[in-house]
Symmetry: C2
């Protein structure tokens, strides 16, 4: 029943800062910056930072938020919605209100994306018909 490993509190798998930086395609400075701003709090092994799988997930969520134009502050707000710690009814209602607002914004963004996607479709169609009509003898370029 006792834990078979001698490491006491360190999680099974950890990551160094450069491992995560490489995995996510960002610089180590970026990851340290997120810590400065309180978005993550890695463990320490001496001076070195050690990132748990949970830290890794947080970084992943931050970068996901950033891809759709969220500020870092908005990313934290979003991530904090997942966390419990909201115990009483008023807090739960408030959280539901926040969730609804955020969902509306996400739905608007998806509308924007869909509009832009169909715009791209039109452009590509127009290009390709023009190419086949006006330049019928060009060989189709390889991928």
């Amino acid at each position: 029943m006792t834990s078979p490993d001698t490491q006491t509190q360190i999680p099974r798998r950890t990551y160094t800062i450069s491992e995560l930086a490489k995995e996510f395609g960002v610089t180590t400075r970026t990851i340290r910056f997120y810590e400065e701003k309180g978005l993550i709090s890695p463990l320490r092994e001496g001076q070195k930072r050690l990132y748990t799988p949970a830290d890794r997930v947080r970084i992943k969520l931050i970068l996901r938020g950033k891809r759709i134009g969220m500020t870092l502050r908005e990313c934290v707000e979003f991530i904090d919605m997942y966390q419990p710690g909201h115990n009483n009814a008023e807090q739960l209602h408030s959280l539901v209100r926040d969730v609804k607002k955020r969902r509306e914004r996400l739905l608007q963004q998806r509308k924007d994306i869909d509009a832009m996607l169909s715009g791209l479709d039109e452009v590509q169609n127009l290009c390709e018909t023009t190419l086949t009509n006006d330049f019928p003898d060009q060989p189709p370029e390889p991928i």
Copy 2:
């Protein structure tokens, strides 16, 4: 057959800067800033700027791009895809390549949004089941 109005080149309908600012919920400074950056080029009536429907559409497209996290530079690039001026085959192929790249990014963003939306669904469900289980006698709050 002659045009019945005395205005020569001014489009039928124009907008002032504050009309557009109010419509789109931005400041006039924002609109002037877009002009500084070469995103729009309104007409002038003396000193005053006069915006055509085409200018208005450009602003709309800029703000749409911004909502999904595009920089202003990316917004111009996107809008420029709509414009013709690409005549030869090489330019058309290049445009199609750009369209494909942009589409990939938009699809990734839509994936991100869908992931976040289902996350929100889970949070809301958890909140609501907790509310109905642990606080069964609270009156449902009005909208």
